[in-house]
Symmetry: C2
Subunit: 552 residues, 2 copies
Amino acid sequence: MKTDIEISQNANLENIKDVASRIGIKENELEQYGNYKAKVNLDESDIPKNHKLILVTSINPTAAGEGKTTLTIGLGDAFKHINQSCAIALREPSLGPVMGIKGGATGGGYAQVVPMEDINLFFTGDFPALTEAHNTLSALIDNHIQHGNELNLDPRQITWKRVLDINDRELRQVVIGLGGRTSGTPRQDGFDITVASELMAILCLSKNLSDLKHRISKILIGYTYDKQPVTVEDLGVTGALTLLLKDALKPNLVQTLEHTPAFVHGGPFANIAHGCNSILATKAALKSADYTITEAGFGADLGGEKFLDITSQNIGKTPDSIVIVATVRALKLNGGVNKNELDTENIDALKQGAANLGRHIENMKQYGKPVVVAINKFVSDTDTEIEVLKSYVESHHVKGILADVWAKGGAGAVDLANELVNTCNNEDKFKPLYDKNDDILDKLNSIVTKIYGGSKVELSSKAARQLKNYRKRGWNQLPICVAKNQYSFTDDAKKLGAPDNFTIHVREFQPKLGASFIVALTGKVLTMPGLPSHPAALDMDIDNNGKITGLF
Amino acid sequence: MKTDIEISQNANLENIKDVASRIGIKENELEQYGNYKAKVNLDESDIPKNHKLILVTSINPTAAGEGKTTLTIGLGDAFKHINQSCAIALREPSLGPVMGIKGGATGGGYAQVVPMEDINLFFTGDFPALTEAHNTLSALIDNHIQHGNELNLDPRQITWKRVLDINDRELRQVVIGLGGRTSGTPRQDGFDITVASELMAILCLSKNLSDLKHRISKILIGYTYDKQPVTVEDLGVTGALTLLLKDALKPNLVQTLEHTPAFVHGGPFANIAHGCNSILATKAALKSADYTITEAGFGADLGGEKFLDITSQNIGKTPDSIVIVATVRALKLNGGVNKNELDTENIDALKQGAANLGRHIENMKQYGKPVVVAINKFVSDTDTEIEVLKSYVESHHVKGILADVWAKGGAGAVDLANELVNTCNNEDKFKPLYDKNDDILDKLNSIVTKIYGGSKVELSSKAARQLKNYRKRGWNQLPICVAKNQYSFTDDAKKLGAPDNFTIHVREFQPKLGASFIVALTGKVLTMPGLPSHPAALDMDIDNNGKITGLF
């Protein structure tokens, strides 16, 4: 059996110019990076109203795998099999996890975006540009303090941390500025992973260069000794940071193994950030094809909720259909089966674990749009298991459709594509989860009770103090972006399935005034991951001809 | 008068495909990054023996400016004016200084490499790749310690620091790994600027992918508790780091305003590293044209010496001629004139400061190759001053030739180009400064006495201890790469001109076993610069159409 990277290396790619011209992108709107990658610069004001948007989300992820990205890509390819035009919008992989845990973010088997090596490594340089811009701001802040501190910034209250696109637990909490007067002011600091940078969120939510610049100017960097907020605008470096991101802002165009256009751009994680690709990429896809498939990170409690409550408001369009990806294996694991026993049929565990899927179905239905469940086939699934799962899904009054894109590519998702063509024509009305004028705590309560299935929110004394403060400052109109572990509806990663009657603990808020949301850090969620005891980097190699192995 | 960026923005560029095809680069050897940048992948085994290499170096730099890069570019263009084929090999700019002090590294006036904005920002992503690979190694080292520390690494003796391509004094000395058991091991660390990374030196000295990989495997990362050296090979991540640099290793091709091909690749600073562009770029230029002009960083005491003693040994070819760039203004400043009075004629100060040039001339002559002085014209120079400088140069038995490339482009260096065509045909024999089998201290003494004009070397107790240790380990056969301030022959930046009878203080050695040299840190030289009180970033902007201002 071929590995993902072997399938990718043997793929027959079209020149990206041809992919682009097929969807009406003009030569002057395309900037090639080699023959198979390009950035696009489109006028996105004229997206036809009848073009449809499909959101792919999933149950809570498990070690057993759901294959959400793989399904998204295969589904995109399936539309060609039913003679419909389709484009895909995805996030870019982060190098931190690529070096850490085997597995990138470019799909798998016969449902991949390519060239997978390039996309998984530096691609067109978007993440490096974000890292550089973020840390340049950090250096400018400390330099301002060093040279007289005209803004009266309190070094104990700098909220702008540093970032690297690396899983590096060693940098989570650091003391910087040691070494005496000429080497800065000693203070506490920490590094987040680049995907958690507010600049990443801003890049993904900006409508154009001027919006990017405006959002950057509003970023909160800290407070003065008098507790007054200080922004990038106050520091006078909006222009410099914006120009560092001028190319990163343009969506990247690549293709799937079956030559479906894929706009792969931006990459916030859904556990610690808002978890959706850039709105410019989604709009580029919407402009290019009748159907756009986009994916939101992790489960529907994280990426799904954030797509619907934050991202789609910025796109100016809500999804015409929502697909929830589930697998028999992941549901059995949610039902208590040991990771090593997933190959054995276990109907009881499946039924028990299916409650996780059930809650996600009901959650997504609340938004008033059609919901479809995609059952992503694994070789170990038995016919009985699949039938049981299908009837479970139907008991929630939605369709459960089997897909096998890993082995068959687009041909494996034809039924799913056909179903979506039908549901996308429904004239259902979007129902938002909360009113943006609600108090921050009320918005948070809506997410916890209506999406997670919890009973209440508990604020740490720090969070309570912050909340009071934000109300005074008038930051109440911002949406909430919850940072929470991806495995559980609760803030405890070990509570699988569909637990009830639990409390979500908010330890801290972070106002992201440029991105325009308030992050709520819950439980023990970390904004800088670590590497495992056997990082994937140990198994990677490249031969003298440049051929890579072990990347996947 | 147009600014550099305005001249660049109005330039009429050739498609890089055409530039490449004119110098015999085939389509399958070229990877385009947009229409005006490309990476090349050449077979460099068949460089014609009669192709000539010209090294451009200079007097000690001053705030008054020497314009060495500008002269290098204009000189390259001048060869076209005399119907000779020529290519240029240059270093890439580092973003840290671009954000700090106004002025990039792409030339100026009518002698620029273009597109200057792209080259000065992220270009083709080489620096970000180096930063990522460097810090990935850091994370893997700390992760190894975290997960059982099988190699018995001593956290107090990790020699591999972290890097960012940012001027950030605040990160020079830090304490990392705080926050308890799950967030790493507390230890001292620090960040260097990316150009000082050993990976940057390795990238610039590697002959091919297999050499790159071999050198990476030899990098010293620290010592065990038993004081045994530990390398990247021991850690088992050679392949992963090499694949992160697979594209960065390929030289970049751009053009000058007059369409001369320019290979711009790699960017170590000459004060804290070896200061030369990649040998692959120089060899690509040598293969492409009869004459190659390459530049080494800062004065001939730093970049010049290192090109001759380190880089050219790796190229397998020494320069056929050496150009020393000098300006009337910089020599007057060396002669004691105040920075604000350089516009006034001052023959006495010029004569006094010319001693700096004199020492560089004699230094370069020691290597046994023809030396020419290029007098880079500034509008404030008087005819008398230029004549005085010319006769001073001739008193050293070399020619002093006026060049005016900033205002005239290649037309401003025709005399200089003609002179070089003559001198390059001399069959002079290269005389190395030291024997590589000399002891480390003897090699250092050769540099200090024969190049700097100092009388002796003083080692700190730490450096003395290290030296003893290196002799035992057999690291004696490596060349020395001195880290020293660029302004003075001494290790005190304030002593201009040509001081005598001084001591060079080595505070610390750093063995770079992958790059294959020993760094000697002298005086107070820092491997992480800071930003000035008014960083250039404050004056940068970009409008809604993407037009940049204030970058230069």
